[in-house]
Symmetry: C2
Subunit: 234 residues, 2 copies
DNA sequence: TCAAAAGTGTTATGAGTACACCCATGG
DNA sequence: CCATGGGTGTACTCATAACACTTTTGA
């Protein structure tokens, strides 16, 4: 059975992949394989297949590129301007992903010509991918101001100074380190480890792990990670 | 030109229409016109046409049903389970709308068999429309806790007690009226009028109007409309 | 021994919250 | 005159934010 006389449209899934390498927040881009705009930088995407859900498609595409499964993935928005793709009308359901770059150690770079870019010196993107990225950055800032999602970008063990530089990267600013660590520790989400990271400083900074249980409980809660959030959220 | 060999899928737009009548927050539903599930209650929807954007389609559908234009309308999420519609695979891009019920004075009820329901005694909805509604309610609570969007539901002139009962309806709770009015007035968004509403009380309550300029400026800002927001946001 | 980053403590301000009374009016 | 809902004021608590010094250690 079908609904008669209605328009059927192509649907793409595009993924905005944010990563953190311990110092900087970065964006994973690929070089487009199809004409037109072949070879230009673009978000990683693919077409929705007949028997998969949107989430399944996003997972599949993310795994194709990075080899990673179980990654934080969230639907951002659907873009549907009739002329957004010059080839033929294509809806794009956009997801964004947060991954720990060090956990991503893949060769697939070669296959898709993928590359990590600092947000500051990313290339121009095709179609409406610039709008998608801008919206994703806004959403990330918004959500991270209230919920502990940035932990998704960190390795299992991390230091408070690393965490702070992640937040500073996301908001493109600096925070007072005393207030920052107090606020973070007061959430009760972190468990102090015995070892220190001696790579990034002489004194060394204690490692922390995430308390997974509390983390899951607090993902939905309203916390206040950012001072004066208005300042950063347009 | 076309992308070859890819699946083309039907796309629907579904609208979750919240309204406020001065006392209660309500939901506008229609009786489905197509088989299967014909006659069952459903969100107002329609198919995406070839040459319209998603926003245009949502506007068109909303206008068909309510006769209203320029309504607050926001994309919620896209639902894409392969079997969500038993007839054939159909993506649904879901929008939610906020309208002042008194401004809505249309006959089109008849055409679409539309009806306003209290959230408490709404009928069971078809397909995955229950999930859509639950998500919309969650989003509305979330957003209204931080941004002054509930004003979209109010008539041009309204009283503080009305406003409070709107908030109380959305969060299904009661608030302290002293703290509520202080908080609302401290935003500077309201302009006190000379007249009073003498319908709902003997003493009468002063009308207020929204300061449109400040309102637009503060739509994006982080305000705190709700005490203990965690309590209400799962 | 010194430079560089980690880590900790105090205070002032303002927002949030709990709470109780007076006011105006129509019936 | 009184019941009903509207409107205001105060004091306490707690989170936030501003701010400076000591500690550790590798070079």
């Amino acid at each position: 059975m079908r609904y008669s006389g209605q328009t059927h449209i192509l649907t793409a899934i595009d993924c905005i992949i944010f990563g953190f390498d311990g110092n900087d927040i970065k964006l994973l881009l690929v070089q487009r394989a199809l004409k037109p705009e072949k070879g230009k930088w673009s978000l990683m995407g693919g077409f929705l297949q007949q028997d998969e859900s949107l989430e399944q498609a996003a997972d599949r595409i993310l795994k194709q590129l990075t080899g990673l499964e179980g990654v934080y993935l969230e639907q951002l928005k659907t873009f549907g301007d009739p002329h957004r793709d010059p080839v033929e009308r294509t809806l794009s359901v956009v997801y964004f992903a947060l991954i720990d770059i060090h956990q991503y150690e893949k060769q697939i770079n070669d296959e898709y010509h993928a590359e990590w870019f600092l947000l500051k010196d990313k290339p121009r993107l095709i179609f409406d991918h610039e709008d998608m990225l801008a919206l994703a950055q806004q959403k990330l800032r918004y959500k991270a101001a209230l919920h502990p999602i940035l932990f998704e970008l960190l390795p299992p063990k991390f230091t408070i100074p690393q965490l702070q530089s992640l937040y500073e990267g996301v908001y493109d600013t600096t925070f007072d380190n005393r207030n920052f660590s107090r606020k973070i520790l007061s959430t009760g989400l972190l468990v102090k480890q015995k070892e220190k990271d001696k790579v990034n400083s002489k004194k060394g900074a204690f490692y922390y792990k995430l308390d997974k249980k509390k983390y899951k409980a607090k993902l939905g809660a309203f916390l206040n990670f950012i001072p004066n959030p208005d300042k950063f959220l347009q």
